[in-house]
């Protein structure tokens, strides 16, 4: 068992348990940060090791780290940490406003840790069955957090989230069973047939029909969690009604993780089938998601809901990129995963404080943030500008690559995508601009907002748009090669 | 391309034009008087008016700006230069190279611009009214004039007035139907530009009708004299343009000194006829409402464009 992985998983587990006991104490937030930091350190060590030694199998092949998931691990750990930093003052303010009880805080903190544990498990495990279990666990942990405020809306959102994702994940299990069924023919019964590395090795011998049916189930299953249209319906509700830190990690991390699982299966399926079946499906769903989500945007009143739809849109874009395949598109997809999760979480941080200041999430009632609190205003403005794909932010870099590849490979799709992006721009910017600028109605907060994460994220995104360090680029390239 | 005798000749022509221009105005008024069965004031009347005005003192409005005082000199200078540019007697003059047809139009436009600005400077209702109407006339008349000149320059393949005249006057005689249209357009334009009936009436100060006079209402003394002089220069320039374009015969070619001697009386004769015709038109036609003026000028403009098209169609 590699110590890094052990630490990586042990730290959130311990954190979860510890905070389940003392999560309501005053310093719980700091403890939360500490554990997240520890996790991040572990992930950094893991990155270093994988960077040095290449792909890594651990604990009797139960864990497999290659360049594809290692950067997702790092990203997840990092965003989880920054979100913890952000949530410290945020949740205090929520408590002061009497929206959460101490018990609620305890639940929140412990579940936060367990959630990151689940995600890290999904990312690091080599066993597709364990991957499913962990994914389900991620759902279960977040369901309670979405319902944290115990209001009508939050309960409704949580209920929908649970039912839809539960049903979806059930389909994913069926898909996993089918994969196992196909693999068993070659690898024989037992855990071995569920290990991705083994499957990857024999993927061209797997039975095509079974694999295609399996992939359908997996797509519907994990696709629900990715938020692909028309399986997305839980997503805006859950984002809008949950506590903002949770919206941030849902948008920034969980969607990525689900997509990661889908990609793993896509690799095997494409290997098994000679025709580009999985790719075609991914492209189709990606395109649909982009277009539909775009049209939803302009009707939104609730700011978090709007950005949830924007997440659907971006996930669709990424899915489309992976569907196209090829070194450039996959590279772009991975890059877009990174910048999207950084930017979107940053936006949610800013939005969270903005909503606390204005005392509402209704955009029409949030005005002139830049006057009362420039950092929140600028955070929101720059984040929005970045997520809308304005240079020199990194989102533009990945979108540029995706779109140019689309123009080269599928010219029919490029105008659709660009048009959707244009409409999304009109919708989002038109709503955010008056929130940031103009006369204000916001109030002061009881705790100083922690906005370092916002600007840290945006700085990274900006840097990625202008300059990508060679090792990072190689890393993405290798990952892209794995995806094919 | 600038020689001493050339310069001398140029300034001689310039001086001649500037000095003789008022006489043309006098001649036109004389003809009008005759046509209206009046005994006119005589050819020299404009000169008397000018000397009178020059020796009078200037009365300036309280808020007249330096621009107001400087404008008359500028306008006069522009029109003097214009009168020097247009080929009247010979084509071999240095300034011909300095400014071509387009520049000529630009020069006239510059004069108009300053007239209008000066009209607005004092800030009475009349000044601005006049300026507005002047610019209204201008923005339709100027392109029309340009188009007329373009027709000619398309024929001669050049915008240099000298070349145009040489081509029209000294190549073998051809009938240009386009020039007929251009001629009509030009007549209409020059009527409008020189504040003549039917567009404007130089002889009235009735605020409903006047254009040019309304603008210069505030001028007095030497300033007014310069303005008046510039006006008669303008008439002279337009007549010369018309003659150069449509009746270029008798204008001397490069280095043809005999022709030069001959050209002067020919010019006088042509001007006399032209002035009489102008007076005739003015007597026969009635002043039109100011709102009709755009239609009148638009017609001229369209005729000019038509002339160009005709050239491309038939002669191109």
């Amino acid at each position: 068992m590699a110590p890094e992985i052990a630490l990586l998983l042990a730290s959130p587990l311990a954190g979860g348990i510890a905070l389940a006991l003392f999560g309501h104490r005053d310093r719980a937030a700091e403890v939360n940060i500490a554990f997240s930091l520890l996790t991040f350190v572990a992930s950094a060590a893991l990155v270093a090791r994988v960077g040095a030694e290449g792909p890594l199998l651990a604990a009797g092949e139960q864990f497999f780290i290659d360049s594809l998931n290692v950067f997702l691990v790092a990203l997840t750990a990092f965003v989880a940490m920054t979100t913890a930093v952000f949530s410290a003052p945020y949740m205090r303010i929520e408590r002061d406003h009497g929206r959460v009880s101490p018990a609620g805080l305890r639940l929140y903190h412990s579940m936060y840790q367990l959630f990151s544990l689940a995600m890290l498990l999904v990312l690091t495990t080599n066993n597709l069955g364990v991957m499913w279990v962990a994914m389900e666990a991620a759902t279960l942990t977040t369901v309670l957090l979405v319902a944290l405020y115990r209001t009508h809306a939050s309960l409704e959102a949580a209920w929908k989230y649970f039912i839809l994702c539960g049903v979806g994940i059930a389909q994913a299990l069926l898909g996993t069973i089918l994969v196992y069924f196909a693999a068993e023919k070659i690898l024989g019964a037992g855990v071995g047939s569920l290990l991705w590395t083994h499957l990857e090795a024999v993927k061209d011998q797997l039975e095509p029909t079974v694999m295609s049916i399996a992939f359908v189930f997996l797509l519907v299953g994990y696709g629900t969690k990715v938020g692909l249209v028309p399986l997305h319906n839980w997503l805006p509700d859950a984002h809008a009604e949950g506590p903002t830190p949770i919206s941030a990690v849902l948008s920034g991390l969980l969607l990525n993780v689900a997509l990661y699982a889908l990609i793993r299966f896509k690799v095997i399926t494409d290997g098994a089938l000679e025709r580009p079946f999985a790719s075609a499906l991914l492209m189709g769903f990606g395109l649909l998601s982009v277009v539909v989500a775009t049209f939803f945007l302009s009707r939104q009143r609730d700011v978090k809901r709007m950005f949830a739809y924007s997440s659907i849109e971006h996930m669709g874009l990424i899915t489309f990129a992976f569907g196209m395949g090829g070194p450039v598109a996959s590279f772009a997809g991975l890059l877009h995963m990174t910048v999207h999760s950084l930017t979107k979480s940053a936006i949610f941080f800013a939005v969270g404080h903005a909503a606390q200041k204005a005392g509402t999430q209704v955009m029409a009632d949030i005005r002139g943030l830049i006057r009362v609190n420039p950092t929140v205003g600028w955070g929101l403005m720059l984040g929005t500008v970045a997520i809308l794909g304005m240079p020199p932010f990194g989102v533009f870099a990945s979108e540029f690559l995706i779109l140019t590849t689309a123009i080269a490979l599928h010219p029919w799709a490029a105008p659709i995508l660009l048009l959707s992006l244009g409409i999304a721009f009109a919708a989002i910017f038109g709503k955010v601009q008056p929130m940031v600028f103009g006369e204000t109605n916001a109030r002061q907060l009881s705790h100083p907002p922690a906005l370092v994460p916002v600007f840290a994220h945006l700085a990274i995104v900006l840097a990625l748009g202008l300059y990508m360090p060679p090792y990072l680029a190689d890393w993405y390239r290798q990952a892209a090669r794995l995806i094919g | 391309m600038i020689s001493i005798p050339g310069l001398v000749a140029q300034f001689a022509v310039l001086a001649l034009a500037v000095l003789l221009a008022p006489m043309l105005t006098g001649w036109v008024n004389q003809c009008r008087a005759w046509l209206q069965n009046r005994s006119g004031p005589g050819l020299l009347q404009p000169y008397r008016v000018l000397t009178k005005l020059f020796s009078k003192e200037v009365v300036l409005a309280h808020n007249a700006s330096p621009l107001f005082r400087g404008a008359p000199y500028l306008i006069f200078g522009c029109l003097a230069l214009a009168s020097a540019i247009v080929p009247k007697i010979g084509t071999d003059l240095p300034l011909n190279a300095a400014a071509d047809a387009i520049a000529l139009v630009g020069l006239l436009a510059l004069a108009r611009l300053f007239t209008a600005l000066a009209g607005m400077d004092v800030g009475t209702a009349f000044g601005t009214l006049g300026a507005r109407r002047e610019m209204l006339v201008g923005f339709l008349a100027e392109p029309a004039l340009l188009m007329v000149l373009f027709t000619a320059s398309l024929i001669s393949g050049s915008t240099s007035l000298a070349t145009i005249v040489e081509v029209l006057a000294h190549r073998e005689f051809v009938i240009y139907p386009s020039m007929a249209f251009a001629g009509v357009a030009f007549t209409m334009v020059s009527l409008a530009e020189n504040a003549r009936i039917p567009v404007d009436n130089p002889a009235t100060h009735l605020e409903l009708t006047m254009i040019h006079e309304a603008m210069v209402l505030e001028y007095s003394g030497r300033h007014l004299a310069l303005i008046e002089w510039a006006a008669s220069l303008k008439l002279f320039v337009y007549s010369c343009i018309g003659l150069a374009l449509f009746f270029p015969f008798g204008i001397a070619e490069r280095g043809d000194w005999l022709g030069l001697l001959l050209a002067l009386p020919v010019l006088g004769l042509k001007l006399a006829i032209g002035g009489f015709l102008l007076a005739l038109i003015e007597t026969l036609s009635a002043k039109m409402r100011i709102f009709r003026a755009p239609e009148f000028l638009a017609t001229a403009f369209l005729l000019a464009v038509l002339a160009m098209l005709l050239h491309v169609l038939l002669e191109g």
């Binding site: 066993n127 809306a153 209920w159 089918l178 | -």
Partner: protein, 220 residues
């Protein structure tokens, strides 16, 4: 001789399972729904045990025991307590009327069988033909979740779907590896508990467990 009748028995169980799913689809009363669910679990337990015995896959005994513990005893008990606490014994009115639902269900069964055909041919197991039925029952419970408007029946449908999955696992392949079995079972258990909590919460807030009250969040 059981070796000889065994496969037929398994098929019989499969048929019973399908029958139960259909009757759940048709059933209006919540209590009987729960009982049907328990019955389904029991059939599942029997078939798993049988398959285990037939094939000598020892770990299948484990999962059979798990099934018995969880799906026949634990969850039905939880659900019974739940509805007693909520006292929602009254009939469940469906969104689509029963006959239509049944018709749709039959179509689904046909689809599932057609789909399962190639897979069954591949399956080298004694239980080859059961996969189609498993798939069918999954789809049927999905349909049930759609047609029921109350929270508890939806929960039951969700659990029934999981039954179908489990049957697929035992039917097509001799069960997943034990780790996974446990994981899945754990997830189902936790899920059921959370659902229970939710149903209470919803009951408190909306003083009804009708999910048609949960339609506030939507696009206007």
């Amino acid at each position: 001789m059981l070796q000889h009748y065994g496969p037929q028995l398994v098929n019989l169980f499969a048929a019973v399972l399908l029958l139960l799913s259909f009757s759940m689809l048709a059933q209006r009363r919540i209590i009987s729904l729960i009982n049907l669910y328990a019955a389904q679990g029991f059939v599942l337990f029997l078939s798993t045990a049988l398959v285990a015995w037939l094939t000598g896959q020892t770990h299948l005994y484990g999962s059979a025991g798990l099934t018995l513990a969880l799906k026949v005893i634990a969850l039905p008990w939880i659900l019974h307590r739940l509805i007693r606490r909520l006292n929602v014994k009254w009939d469940v009115e469906t969104l689509i009327n029963i006959p239509t639902t049944m018709l749709v269900g039959i179509v689904l069964v046909i689809l599932a069988f057609n789909l399962a055909l190639p897979i069954s041919q591949l399956a080298g197991t004694v239980t080859r033909s059961t996969f189609g039925i498993a798939l069918a029952s999954v789809l049927l419970s999905f349909l049930m979740m759609i047609t029921r408007s109350k929270a508890v029946p939806q929960v039951i449908g969700f659990l029934a779907m999981e039954n179908g999955l489990f049957f697929a696992a035992t039917g097509a392949v001799y069960g997943m590896p034990m780790v996974i079995e446990f994981g899945v079972a754990l997830d189902v258990l936790v899920g059921a508990l959370i659902l229970g909590i939710f149903v209470f919460e919803i009951r408190e807030r909306f003083d009804s467990v009708d999910t048609r009250h949960l339609e506030k969040l939507k696009e206007r």
